[in-house]
Amino acid sequence: MMLLELKSIRVQYSEIIALHEVSLHINEGELVAVIGSNGAGKSTMLRAICGINRLSSGEIWFDGKKISSMKAFKTVEMGISHVPEGRRLFPRMTVYENLTLGAWTKRKDTIYIQQQIEKVYHLFPILKERASQKAETLSGGQAQQCAIGRALMCSPRMIMFDEPSLGVQPNIVARIFENIQQINQQGITVLLVEQNVKRALDLADRAYVLQTGNIVLEGTGTELMKSVMVQKAYLGI
């Protein structure tokens, strides 16, 4: 079953067109990667899906409903969660407060929030240790774990990861990708955006290549890994 569908979306920043006519789809339960170099429009795409950037044309559908004119907070209520580029934690709030804010859409249910926080602590024990520390004091890897934990707090149907390996110590990167796989195995649909092409393709059921605002290639992870174009442009082979 198709969960998310982009139909020829175009997004621009005043004059600059960041996405030309991007179409893609994700089925329920899939792990789909979008790879592309710096400035290709990956972050813009995710920000358009969650309603922060508006479309100039095209449509976005999620779970059978058109979401492209919804405000950002509505898409979260629909079950779309976002681990943004650079993590974007609330710097002067504690880890615990950041996690709680992740469950804003379910704020009335304090029992649910406590249970969900325990689950996140179970996945990322370091967050429990750092619970009362301000987010701005965390290291890159800890902050990424906190951002992922925060995105899990609302029990989303789909999580979008924007370059989760960026600014994370190399020894933690593998852990982060394992976590993403675990999350997907729990039944949450994943849209992963990466420049770390090899790792992303290893993980993905299917993948798309985004180049200067256009999708130029799509296929399964293994297919793309074998593609001459991907090897030359992104894997340096």
Binding site: I52, K71, A72, R88, R92, T100, L101, G102, C154
Partner: protein, 274 residues
């Protein structure tokens, strides 16, 4: 007086942090609240204490109108000068409208419910002033509790710290702006009503409060709610002491001196963040 400064400045601090603007008409909302209180007293013989809720509602509504009609419009423009001058202009508009309606005469409320003074040893403390201080501290405490201890307060802080990330949490940030103006209206409305008990009322009285609020917000540390309280109290104490020692007409000089000296050593203010 310090507690009232702290209360007024907390409202300013909140709005400036939340909207990321410099708001020059904050003090004029105090003026509006004072005239509301005055009007209700002169027409309906309502005591300034009784009319506090009305003052809060009026300042909140004026704040929200300012937000909807002016600030949300200028926020779309990339020019920060535009933002600065629009609130400055609105301040002038409010003051001159009040001058037109109420004349530039100094007004005050006669025979309020709370008046006179109590003496402790050699010191005479005016009751309305004492009452104002206690009321302002209570109002400040209520705001503080709301912002730091409730989920809505957390969401408000989140919006202030990173608006896009707040949207990604599912927070309706437009509602948070309105909530911010409501809290600011609560601070300013309460302060105005408490001031009416003992302070003169004049169309341009808000300018004093705007200026002092800027001093308090910067002294306390931009965006720090706790800093506003401490700095507000410091400014109040310095002002009172210098009023006694060197005379009321010069009382603001030591205030600004303190401000300059503190900023020389702590450019980010007392509780400012990196």
């Amino acid at each position: 007086m310090g507690a009232l400064y702290a209360l007024v400045a907390s409202g300013l601090s909140l709005i400036q942090g939340l909207m990321n603007i410099i708001n020059f008409c904050h003090g004029d909302l105090v003026t509006i609240s004072m005239y509301t209180s005055f009007l209700l007293w002169s027409v309906f013989k309502m005591d300034p204490l009784v009319s506090i809720p009305v003052c809060i509602i009026v300042s909140t509504l004026v704040g929200i109108a300012t937000h909807k009609l002016i600030i949300s419009q200028v926020l779309r423009s990339p020019s920060s000068f535009g933002q600065m001058f629009s609130t400055y202009g609105l301040g002038i508009l409010i003051a001159s409208t009040l001058q037109f309606v109420f004349t530039p005469n100094y007004r005050s409320v006669l025979n309020p419910f709370v008046e006179g003074s109590i003496s402790i040893g050699a010191i005479n403390i005016s009751k309305p002033l004492l009452f104002g201080a206690v009321g302002a501290l209570l109002a400040y405490g209520l705001c503080y509790w709301f912002i730091r201890r409730t989920p809505e307060g957390q969401a408000l802080q989140a919006t202030e710290q990173d608006i896009d990330a707040a949207k990604m949490m599912g927070i309706d940030t437009e509602k948070m702006f309105l909530l911010g103006w409501t809290i600011s209206g609560f601070c300013v409305g309460t302060a105005g009503a408490l001031l009416t008990n003992f302070y003169y009322i004049h169309p341009y009285v808000g300018e004093t409060f705007s200026n002092i609020s800027f001093v308090v917000v910067t002294l306390g540390g931009y965006g720090s709610f706790e800093g506003s309280l401490i700095a507000g109290l410091i400014v109040g104490v310095v002002e009172t002491i210098s009023g006694y020692v060197i005379g009321p007409q010069y009382k603001l000089i030591p205030v600004y001196l303190t401000y300059l000296i503190v900023l020389m050593f702590r450019p980010r203010g007392l509780m400012g963040r990196r």
